[in-house]
Amino acid sequence: MLEAMVFYILAAASVIFGLLLITRVNPISSAMTLIGVFGALAGLYAMLNASFVSIIQILVYAGGIMVLVIFVIMLLNLHKDDLQPMRAQPFWVILALVALFGTILGPILFCVLPNKDWTWGSLTPDFGTLMMVGEKIFSDFLFPFEILSLILLTAVIGALVMAKRKL
C-alpha cells in the first residue's frame, strides 16, 4: 500500500512537472520543472531497486547537465521575441497532441500493456548497488565503456571548438 502511494505521488509529480516543462514561457522555469521531473524519476528508480542509478540521475542530470543548461540560458541575453510560449496555433497543437496520443500512447496503454503479464523478477538484496553495477560495467561492458570515454572527450573538445571565440 505504501509502495502504491509513493508510486502514484512520484508519477503524478513527474507528469505534472513534465506538462509544466513544455508550457512555461521562461526557459529557467522550465529548467527548474525539469529538475523536479528528475527528482521524481530518481525516487522511482530507487523504488525499482536501482539505488546507484537514482543517485547518478540526481548527480549527473540534475546537478551537472541542468546547471550547464541554466548557465547557458543566463549567459545568453534573451530577447522578448525568444520567450514565446508555442510554435503554432492552439488548434494545430491540440491536433498534434491528439495524433501523438493516437500513435504512441494509446496503443501502448490500451493494447500492449493489458495483454502483457509482466511480473517482477526475483532479486538479490544487493541488486543495483554501486558494487554490482560496477562489476557489470567492468566485465561485460568494458569496451563500450572505453568508447564512451572517447565520446565524452570528443564532445568536450568539440564544444570547446564551437563555443570559444578565439582558440
Binding site: 509502495e3 502504491a4 508510486f7 508519477a11 513527474s14 507528469v15 513534465g18 506538462l19 516543462l21 513544455i22 526557459p27 522550465s30 521531473v37 528528475f38 524519476l41 522511482l44 528508480y45 525499482l48 531497486n49 536501482a50 542509478v53 540521475q57 542530470y61 551537472g64 547537465i65 543548461v69 547557458v72 545568453l76 534573451l78 530577447h79 525568444d82 508555442m86 510554435r87 497543437v93 498534434a96 497532441l97 501523438l100 500512447l105 501502448i108 500493456l113 502483457k116 509482466w118 511480473t119 523478477g121 532479486l123 538479490t124 541488486f127 553495477v133 557489470k136 560495467i137 561485460d140 563500450p144 565520446i151 565524452l152 564532445a155 568536450v156 568539440g158 564551437m162 563555443a163 571565440r165
Partner: protein, 104 residues
C-alpha cells in the same frame, strides 16, 4: 490495469506518458532550450522503462545502459549548448525558426 498492486505495466505506462510529453515539447516549442530539455525528458522516459525491464528480468544490463544514456546525454547537452552559443553569436536569437539558412 488495476491500481494496486504496482506492476511493471504502471511504470511502462508512466514511461509512455513522459515520452509523449517530451515529443509534444519538441514539436510545439520554438525555443532551442525547450527543445533540448524536452529531448532530455524523452531520454529519461526511456531510462525508466530500461530500469523497469531490468527489474523484471533481474538483469543489470538495463542499469548499465541507463548509465551510458546519462553519459551520452551529458555529451549531447555539452555539444548542443555549444552549438546554441555559436548560433546565438551569429543570429542574436534562440528561435529555431530563424536557423534556416545554409549560408551565413
Amino acid at each position: 490495469m488495476e491500481l494496486y498492486p504496482i506492476t511493471p505495466n504502471h511504470y511502462l505506462a508512466l514511461s509512455a506518458v513522459l515520452f509523449t510529453i517530451g515529443i509534444a515539447g519538441v514539436l510545439t516549442r520554438k525555443n532551442v532550450f525547450m527543445t533540448l530539455m524536452s529531448l532530455e525528458l524523452m531520454l529519461n522516459a526511456v531510462n525508466l522503462s530500461f530500469i523497469t525491464f531490468a527489474k523484471v528480468n533481474s538483469d543489470l544490463t538495463g542499469h548499465v545502459f541507463v548509465l551510458f544514456v546519462v553519459s551520452i546525454a551529458a555529451a549531447e547537452a555539452c555539444v548542443g549548448l555549444a552549438i546554441v552559443i555559436a548560433l546565438f553569436r551569429l543570429k542574436e536569437t534562440v528561435n529555431l525558426d530563424m536557423f534556416k539558412s545554409l549560408k551565413n
